[in-house]
Symmetry: D2
Subunit: 377 residues, 4 copies
């Protein structure tokens, strides 16, 4: 464990902070040495104490100052930002500007203006900047990406991507559920609800696998649960620059759907189908041939899929392992930067992808308010 | 076998005519006694001879005349129209006006004007008129319909219905494939391709299960295969009168998808999921409870689902049995009409549903050409 | 419809008689013209009247006499025996000896002595004799058989075949359920319960697909439901002449299992997996390659699988269609016999296969009572 | 991370050692501080260096001596034994006798004599001793166990447990594959091949879920791959003390089967079905009711299942998380021992279960050589 990291947010009661820590621990990718685990300094310190972190800061500003005060080789190698959305921008900006590598949860920031600002800073400072669109870490997603790239499907004609959830089918935010609370609050979540929280994952998964660029969108967002301020459901038609068409569905009111992210990619020669809840398999269809089911852990897979796996076929890997793969990619890039040989291709979602995600959210909301059919992307 | 029927179309090389005949034979619902099996008189007579039909006519006009010349009790009880789409209207109109009961394949006719004309004739003449949206004949579709009706799902919020096929991913119509040929020809198929052929099934399935009425649509139709005149793919956003939202996808270029009609219905209290390729099961989700899988043939199902099944649970029933259920419903209505006690509720898709289907096709095409987001239904 | 048939058994309240009639009607394979539908003459005649059969006999003896009294061209072409098991032998023997073609339900008869007698008669008289091990009629079972025959799996090493049901998990026979009543009564069902009723189907499916010959068996039969006289559960180890091993499981007390007949065949080069409740698919595994899912209705299937299908891929076929395929095979053989060119290979389970099934039941029961591990087959 | 551990075996090229380390790291259950990573001292030291372990020993004997020489509070809290099977006994014995807590891979040892010796030592010394039958760590396995215990299934009648693999379908051990090499060598693997390696997992899973005690077994082991010394396939009939019956299948020659451990439990009131390759679901069948699918991460699950999960429903957990749950249980017991309040019930497989597993292997081999049907357990 050669790398050291600090964390902003992710204290007690938080969900995603623990996921990041487990994902990093799984492969001993880095050691947690510093943290400012809450916007509330008392909670922050209590959480840090519970986690046994060496450098426990009351605020992220204190952490930035404290780390900069250390000799360079003792400082954290990267900071992980797992706060509610509205805190991504100031923290990411401050640490990146100070030369720290950053991993930020998605969606990256609240506006394209902020996103472009971050993109600029990252380029200027040469820092490594990852965005945890974690689903692209699944080995079979990487296999799918490779199969599209190498032409197994031919030219892509159509993509259907969905992220179906049901946990916000009732007004859960009124019951004290912290996860529901901030996600339905525009101040912390941003201009979109379900579309920001999970629609953006769907967009990134689609982009990552197909490499397609959206040209136009037509969105219909809905708030089904009375009293809620943000969308909890949305359906989007897509047009891509290459002429392909698409459908993107994201919902948090579909009762019984747990974390049903799924994608279908149809090309001129073949098709791929992948489901996040059955992540070790990938369906491959070719014209006039039997369906193939490719499975994680087998020799017939591409290098990227093999590299992203730890245990043999049939011993299922899942969500945390996929998450850990994002961190493996980040760590590789950080090691390369430290070694003075920075990478030019990254095996994790970059700040640029994060910026596209922010634009996607903005455009979906814009289109949803528009009477015009197609909103340019 | 007390009923007698005649058939228009469905001769040699036809696909769907044989399906209708098998579906009727399965339950000995009626006996085929007459036919005009092709628009080509020679082929018609040859097909009729091969089928061993008693009253073999060269043309449907001859059949109409011939049957009318018989004593009433010897005439066919109903006519089955399984021609390419463009012949539905003249034949259905002529037979219905002459007082014959009619079963017509879908889509009913080419225009709402024609459809309304048929609706009027059916009402005036009091004939039984069924449209073979056959997928509503599946027992588990009837179970789904009943569960929505009795409130198991609460108010419906969202519907996703898809009809995914891949058999027209290449220009099959150039290879002499008869099924592809007429379906891609606007003269015989009408103004829509995939949307008319299978999108209309999806619309009917959705309407049949949910009882929802479409208020607005926003469609994006595409012709992916070069040289083809009609759409081979389409994605549609839907709004319903009760405030529900929907997505309808129909495609014939999704390689590997065989006859993948599927529907998801999400309500305030629960959800249903059904797939045509696994028709004996129905997924039922309720807030906070384990998923239930309901299976055909069990005592816990509703009466309509039980009535639509023949053999015990675990002995799968499929497409032909569902088709046969449509004919059972038609036969019941015809028997009731003969007995002088006509039914007021029908267990088959009526001419009214057929007319909605025609309107759906028109509105989808209209919307697809429009720059306006929402086209009123 | 050129063939004519008569039926013994299968009247009101019976289950399987109706299945046979529907299976024959589906393809218009033959016309029901005669019947003795019950061992109770009054019930027989009432059932025949309801079915509208032309020659309605009070007893099977009367039917035999009556048919023989007709000019040969007016007689039934074959008789279908769907009585409880104990009546298979006398009826099959009498009709076969009189030169009639016969289709008998399974298990063929109560003892190997009776079975060999029937085999002898069939050979002497040259009649067509089918046994309705209906599951071999599924197209994907025929595909599996062909793949084994042509060596796709290499030498077979292991077979696991199961027939899991749960409908007799309680003492249903005490509730007036006719199907449960005779199946649990040794006088009508024979020496075995679940093993005779469904274990014999499993044995036949295994033999039909693999062509393997059993050399030794080791069985453990159980009666779980108190008061029941016959086995309702059984587990069997198998050894085959070629050195392969096997497991056969048959049970009627496995709650929730509906008609879960499934088989796995493992060879030196590949494996096959098939489930009756998902009959349109066949899993094919090859060393080091992605799983293939073969689906009914596709061009890549073998001729026997294609011949056994009626409608396109994705339009599921099921139990009744498979049953109908058995009758298609029988009809072909009868037509060939009538034409003076009798077949030498049959696309239906023959009297010889029926005799093996009877022996299987005897040996399973013998082994279950034995302290010796292996009972020679 | 309060606990410290050492590892014996698990160096470079080993598979399972890394799995143990990841499983422990995932939850920061303990810190790896010592190791003797190979039976070859040079390899041991090289591996330890690569892993960055503080106290790197050339041999396990040196490790035992070294740790004992440390002040008690600095010593490892437990040792993890992940050597080939033949080294389990001497190492476990030595460390347990010296008062160290132990986690050993399965099968525990080579003979019941050795197993009983370990059981005795564990009791005398009061050490915590876990055996990594890791599959019992899955949340849905714990749910199944609870449902059996609380009577949801009624009295158990039948169990079918299978562990199907195909990776040894060819003579892989001749190709330099280390995993295949020692597993097929009686000196290192013991008297059984597939039955020892995976059959013992199946036995433990069955015992863990059902609580049933085997009374008699009847086994048929086979070596299909020429030249191999140990069984690569086995089928076993089981009888239990309560009158229940069972079938256990374990194979490593079933091509295409990856790590297909599955169990079906049938009781008088209901049934359960679970598959390791789809570990987040559990099928529950009750007489006359729709199938229920219980899913990990939901509130309706029992406490033990909830405690064994980390992330929400729909975010799949898998093999490593289940493995980690075993270590969580071990750590709890060690903490309790350290606190002077040793547990009496354990949430991990104990040395006693390990001993039953060894006996199972012995009895399976004995039965397989016997002409007698039933071998007493």
């Amino acid at each position: 464990m050669t790398l050291k990291y600090g964390m902003i947010g992710g204290g007690k009661d938080a969900f995603i902070g623990g996921v990041h820590r487990k994902a990093i621990a799984l492969d001993s990718t880095a050691e947690l040495v510093a943290g400012a685990f809450s916007s509330n300094p008392e909670k922050a310190l209590a959480s840090g104490k519970e986690l046994g972190v060496k450098r426990n800061y009351p605020t992220w500003e204190a952490m930035l100052e404290g780390e900069l005060a250390l000799p360079e080789e003792e400082r954290i190698d990267f900071v992980v930002i797992v706060t509610p959305n509205h805190m991504h921008y100031p923290t990411a900006k401050a640490f990146a500007e100070a030369g720290f590598n950053v991993v930020s949860d998605k969606p990256l920031v609240h506006s394209s203006e902020q996103a472009e600002d971050l993109v600029r800073i990252v380029q200027e400072k040469g820092v490594v900047f990852g965005v945890t669109y974690n689903y692209t870490g699944y080995p079979m997603v990487r296999q799918a990406r490779e199969m599209v790239r190498r032409g197994d499907l031919g030219k892509i004609r159509k993509v259907i991507v969905e992220y179906n959830q049901g946990w916000l089918a009732t007004r859960l935010e009124e019951t004290g559920a912290k996860q529901a609370d901030w996600r339905t609050d525009p101040k912390r979540s941003g201009i979109a609800g379900a579309m920001g929280d999970i629609g953006s994952h769907a967009e990134n998964l689609m982009g990552s696998i197909t490499g397609l660029h959206i040209s136009h969108i037509c969105a219909d967002l809905t708030t089904f649960v009375e009293g809620r301020q943000l969308d909890d459901d949305g359906n989007v038609l897509l047009r891509f620059e290459n002429g392909a068409k698409g459908v993107l569905i994201a919902s948090q009111i579909e009762i019984g759907m747990e974390n049903d992210l799924r994608i279908r990619v149809f090309g001129e020669k073949g098709s791929l189908v992948w489901h996040q809840e059955d992540p070790n398999s990938l369906e491959f269809h070719r014209l006039g041939e039997p369906v193939q089911i490719l499975k994680r852990g087998n020799d017939y897979l591409c290098d990227a899929a093999k590299k992203a796996t730890r245990i043999p076929a049939g011993h299922p890997e899942a969500f945390l392992e996929a998450f850990a793969n994002i961190y493996r990619g980040v760590a590789e890039a950080i090691e390369a930067r430290k070694a003075g040989t920075p990478l030019t291709e990254f095996e994790f979602p970059t700040v640029q992808e994060g910026a596209i995600g922010v634009k996607f959210i903005e455009k979906v909301v814009e289109s949803s308010h528009s009477d015009q059919k197609w909103t340019e992307f």
